[in-house]
Symmetry: C2
Amino acid sequence: VPQYARPLAQLIESLERLPGIGLKSAQRLAFWLLQADDESVQALAAAIANVKRAIRDCSVCFNYTDEDLCPICADARRDHSQVCVVADARDLMALERSGEYRGVYHVLQGLLSPIEGVMPDNLRIAELLERVKKGGIAEVILATPFTVEGDATASYIADLLQPLGVRVTRIAGGLPVGGDLDYADQVTIARALEGRRRVGADASP
Amino acid sequence: VPQYARPLAQLIESLERLPGIGLKSAQRLAFWLLQADDESVQALAAAIANVKRAIRDCSVCFNYTDEDLCPICADARRDHSQVCVVADARDLMALERSGEYRGVYHVLQGLLSPIEGVMPDNLRIAELLERVKKGGIAEVILATPFTVEGDATASYIADLLQPLGVRVTRIAGGLPVGGDLDYADQVTIARALEGRRRVGADASP
């Protein structure tokens, strides 16, 4: 291992702990930070130091926020009768990026996984039921991923919502747009076949 | 653009300014930091905040250090009569990683580039000449890269060192080990041909 001055070695070690950052990337980032203007470097350090203190859970949907409500729950232009259930804030942001969804969210903060010890009580499922019971919600869209955990979590929640008289839907699985059939795994192809719809003049919506 | 809480948006923006980190990576890192244990996050923030303050130039070779001498110049087991001239500390570390070099370094802190306004006075060339004039140096190895700027810088320095009676060498250019001829660019192939050596029983070293 090359001999770095201690403060530089510490920076490289800290950067290397970040996900997707190996030793080479950590070294590159450290050298870049040494050359960068002091203002940017201090802004980055402050942003990292502050983020955990400043961010908490939205009191309604459990998305990240620095106020009582997250920016989406606080937005009166969103459709508050439509609630999209997601595993985490990253999935929420992926849906936001599509620009297709105008409702609000409910962030479970994980997926059921008995193997990893994640049980219903570890997720924000009780809070979702409370939200629905309070009324004003017409549809709950289950947008957990199409994995064993994502499907199990969606089924579990669907069963609990059934008696509450709310419309419960699951996002569609199938071939990704632009994706080649040849490259798709067999489970995705099976799901795409299973979810097939009639097309043409006599197709019903 | 999705609506992030302000402290989260600021963190993502700061991370996105890092080299090789796009929006998606910045988001991934930000969410990871939100979930990471507080100790690691604060250690990273402190390492970033401190590095520019704590690091200065080695008074001999201009490598990064937090003391008067860098760890290499301070190491009595290194051969201080052999000085390898590199563009920057990253190249120095690349040479260190090879484990092949036991001499010391001189970090130019850049390469000559009239187009970008980098002139001899902007580099640590005068300091290199002073070092050689002081005596005790048997060989200067020019290890700037094989680019227009790297070659020009090496030639410029070689001309200045000529009258000082020190042995001046340039690292070898050629095909990378494990590199396929088919994938090498023509300049590399030309340099590999030009630098060819006799092999076999009667080859002189």
